[in-house]
């Protein structure tokens, strides 16, 4: 923040204007933009790290933890989750676990409701598919893999392991914050 006498002198300067002074100040601001770096990237070549708690597509499901209790299916506002279980050896075996992401709004209620941390949201954002049917995720496709990493949404343990976000807004913000600190 600028001190008060400085502000006053600036105000009086504005009153005693000279043609072009304001324009020169504006030109200085945009020149900084030209010399600085762009805050956009060329997307398919340069991808950004999304938020740790990103509610992306591609749910990650851990079959070892899932008991087939269907709490997620009950909590889903759209009823997108279909669970079919079979009585197994002292526990239920999950026969079918499907999420129709075509109707999903990624509210995350299923993840929040899971008592065993068996379901996580994913970090992917490239959702386009060629067929409507491909949007229905089956249990084999939903398991964690190299391509399919869980998001830290409602899963603080996973969140700790994730890399920091490099969304451009944050990068640009960090830069300008530094400058602001050095100005006064």
């Amino acid at each position: 923040m600028k001190s008060e006498p400085e502000q006053k002198s600036k105000r009086s300067k504005d009153k005693k204007r000279v043609f072009g002074a304001g324009i020169a100040r504006g030109l200085r601001v945009t020149m900084k933009g030209l010399l600085g770096r762009a805050i956009t990237t060329s997307y398919p070549e340069h991808k950004l790290v999304v938020s740790k708690r990103f509610r992306g597509n591609e749910f990650v499901w851990y079959p070892a933890r899932c008991t087939g209790c269907s709490t997620c299916a009950k909590s889903c506002p759209h009823g997108n989750i279909e669970v079919v279980t079979r009585r197994g050896n002292n526990a239920y075996e999950v026969e079918k676990f499907e999420i129709d992401t075509g109707r999903c709004m990624f509210c995350g209620l299923c993840v929040e409701s899971c008592p065993y941390d068996a379901l996580c949201l994913g970090r992917g954002y490239e959702l386009a598919k060629y067929r409507r049917g491909d949007l229905v995720l089956e249990k084999e496709a939903m398991q964690e893999s190299e391509k399919r990493k869980p998001s830290g949404y409602f899963r603080p343990k996973i969140e700790k392991t994730l890399p920091a976000q490099t969304l451009l807004i944050e990068r640009a913000g960090r830069k300008s914050r530094k400058k602001k600190e050095s100005v006064p």
């Binding site: 043609f19 945009t30 933009g33 956009t40």
Partner: protein
């Protein structure tokens, strides 16, 4: 001068001494053909260069990357746009004046390229016609573009187009006067109306000898060619796309080319009048001209990336209350200096003097003249009562 000149040579005012020995200077038709093709090619290539430089440049000013897909680093973007526009359907409004609607883009485009007939592009005297009234020709031709704009606005039978055309005429008529007055200061110093002569006269660039004229000319030129902040003709937020709202396909492309063609011509004229044209060490003359044009254009789109659009009355205020009187005073001062100051090396002393005079005049105007005219203050009911 060549000892005998044919009638055609006199008309074209060919200067054989500036051209290479093998040049067919005694065949004016061949000379004209070569230079017409060369000048138009130069102008068109520069239009593509300017479009690319501006799109990438403005993007960087706005912290974006700009078009970088078509060709290496997006250099073919203008070509891709052109192909797209060529393939688009040409729509003519039912109530439009068909003939005028068709002619308008041509009338708007041609003057931008005709200007290059008198600009020394490739070196001393290497131009289509070294007219001894080159400045007059340039002023006459460059102000003709507004006719195309008005034809487009009129023929479209669209209220926004017509508003834009009216604005265009008002703006261009107003700014033509300070523009000519600013050039007059240069002409007084150079003592000639030939553009080649004006370049020859610049041992010191006229931007230094006539700083006020340079500023006035730059502003008036920006207004003439509708660059932001004077782009009232195409104010998207108010009147859609202005005079070319009803144009599509190749006709729209022609208006686009006209807009940048006028920018290229304006930059070339500024470089010729104020920055020494093709003059410069080491590099070939045409490269120097291109560099100087790009510098002028850079300042133009730098302002475009910075400043918001002016209001109509503010544009008129700037033209009539500031630029015109300052330009007239500048011509008077230039005339007095040329009359009483000994020519020669002491001309260098005029540089600081003229810069000081220019700064003083701008300062005086800032304190005495208000350009905000007609500003509407919005007050709440409580404020009105108090």
């Amino acid at each position: 001068m060549a000892p005998i000149q044919s009638a055609e040579q006199t008309v074209l005012a060919i200067r054989p001494e500036g051209l290479p020995a093998f040049w067919p200077a005694d065949n004016p038709w061949l000379h004209a053909l070569v230079f017409i093709v060369a000048s138009i090619a130069f102008a068109l290539v520069m239009v593509i260069v300017f479009i690319y430089v501006e799109r990438r440049g403005v993007a960087r000013f706005q912290l974006r990357l700009g078009p970088n897909r078509a060709g290496p680093e997006g250099v073919l973007q203008a070509v891709a746009d052109l192909i797209k526009l060529l393939l688009k359907e040409d729509i003519v409004p039912r109530l439009a004046d068909k003939v005028v609607h068709l002619l308008a883009p041509i009338v708007a485009t041609v003057p931008a390229f005709m200007v290059f007939a008198v600009v020394p592009l490739w070196g001393d005297g290497a131009m289509l016609a070294d007219l001894n009234a080159g400045v007059l020709y340039f002023i006459a031709i460059s102000s003709f573009g507004v006719v195309g704009v008005f034809m487009a606005g009129w023929a479209s039978s669209n209220k926004y187009s017509l508003i834009s055309a009216m604005r265009g005429v008002a703006q261009m008529v107003s700014y033509e006067i300070p523009l000519v007055m600013a050039l007059l200061g240069v002409v007084v110093f150079a003592g000639t109306l030939s553009l080649n002569g004006i370049v020859d006269a610049q041992s010191i660039p006229f931007a230094l000898l006539q700083p006020l004229a340079a500023v006035i000319y730059f502003l008036a030129m920006s207004a003439e060619i509708n660059r932001t902040p004077f782009d009232l003709l195409e104010a998207e937020s108010e009147i859609i796309a202005g005079y070319h709202t009803e144009y599509s396909g190749m006709k729209f492309a022609l208006f686009y080319v006209a807009e940048y063609g006028h920018a290229v011509a304006g930059a070339a004229i500024f470089a010729t009048f104020f920055l020494g044209g093709w003059k410069g060490p080491v590099l070939p003359p045409v490269l120097w001209l291109v560099i100087k044009m790009l510098v002028v254009f850079f300042v133009g789109f730098w302002a475009r990336a910075t400043l918001p659009r002016l209001r109509v009355d503010q544009v008129m205020g700037l033209g009539w209350k500031a630029l015109l009187p300052l330009a007239v005073i500048n011509v008077l001062i230039a005339a007095v200096e040329v009359l009483f100051w000994p020519s020669g090396t002491t001309q260098w002393l005029l540089v600081p003097i003229n810069i000081a005079i220019g700064a003083l005049l701008v300062f005086l105007w800032s304190r005495t003249v208000s350009l905000r005219g007609g500003r509407v203050e919005v007050r709440t009911r409580a404020e009105v009562k108090a």
